[in-house]
Symmetry: C2
Subunit: 215 residues, 2 copies
Amino acid sequence: MHSSEQIPHPVIRRLPKYLVHVQELREEGVEWASSQEIADALGLTSSTVRQDLSHMELRGISKKGYETSQLEAVLRQVLGADIMHHVVIIGAGHLGRALAEHGAFARRGFEICGLFDRDEDLIGKMYGNAEVMSIDDLATQVGKVKIDIGIIAVPSSAAQQVAEMLVDAGVKAILNLAYKHIQVPSHVTVVDARIMESLQELAYALGKKKEVSRG
Amino acid sequence: MHSSEQIPHPVIRRLPKYLVHVQELREEGVEWASSQEIADALGLTSSTVRQDLSHMELRGISKKGYETSQLEAVLRQVLGADIMHHVVIIGAGHLGRALAEHGAFARRGFEICGLFDRDEDLIGKMYGNAEVMSIDDLATQVGKVKIDIGIIAVPSSAAQQVAEMLVDAGVKAILNLAYKHIQVPSHVTVVDARIMESLQELAYALGKKKEVSRG
DNA sequence: ATGGTATTGATAATTTTTTGACAAAACCTT
DNA sequence: AAGGTTTTGTCAAAAAATTATCAATACCAT
């Protein structure tokens, strides 16, 4: 049941939420957290929480729950939050710049190793600790340092092309912020994080609310 | 089966993806799209696509598929992409500013009506079409224009407090970008869009890949 | 020490989501 | 105009995810 078993995708998406909450509890000096406490805090059921945590290398204790420091450590380990990941950002527009300047990544194990753009006027400018480089130099830069993750922060019309450049450069994990689905070989993992889609989901919910209140 | 029926959540999350793709096809002059074509483009099965589209007010035609212009119109209507939504952004840090300056929102039906921050030094500055206002003025500003959506772009430590301010101001839909779960009354819809969580998901995938390649 | 009790871990049941299968529809070619 | 063929819409099956249940555990108060 433990370790090299395949953890279901919905569980993996919840693990970061557990980590944030447990970390907070631990920092507040809380030593134990029950599945019920965690469930209430995150809007889940205690059953789901126990089910999820059963995939981890960890035992809870009856009447007390899970030890926060241990749970945090296990979650960090499973999520690879203890090792530093090397990240490049493609696209030095508003969003790419905001990410480069956002300090929280380094603290959580993601080091921005490069910021690339096509626009000659941007090349050489500094954002955060990153200097904008030409997209043409992507391959050589990626060759210098082993890059784990590429973030696509370009307009949707260029997303597929950038994805292919990243794949060609050997990047195995891509975070796609562009409002477009990208096609990659099966050995590359893509996670989408699109603010526009989330807004559209909210817009749908708003429409439904109106419908219900009318009907 | 149609109209006021409840559309499953996984379907709703896919609708924006359909919309982007179909819009692109239509702009390219493609008049018909089969479920198989759409599935291939988005990494789904044709069965899923047909099942999903069966929730819409639309019929495909045997041997041709779905008419792109009609499909686009129906998706836009369901997602409320045709009506303008009023949005406020709380937090004028890197991310909040990037969103305010990002031109694509207005084009897709989301008008940024306010950008708020606690920092006195930022108040009065312009980003995009939005002037930074004091968070203390949120309630009065929201009173002037009906605000549909609030975007939380503050540090996680302030997220819950901001969520409550938005709820008190009468906002019914919240996009939470902070790396923290927020608690709101049940009549308020929250959608999370956290880049950090997506990165952690990728980090997990990278770890798994290493394990497999070793084992 | 002992008993009552809260909480886990595991299993089972339920619900939800995805996929498969195929008759019906309607297009296109001849 | 007729037949072959592709693709839909629907229903059924399978797979996946969530929730409920409960015996076992071990804490804590007396």
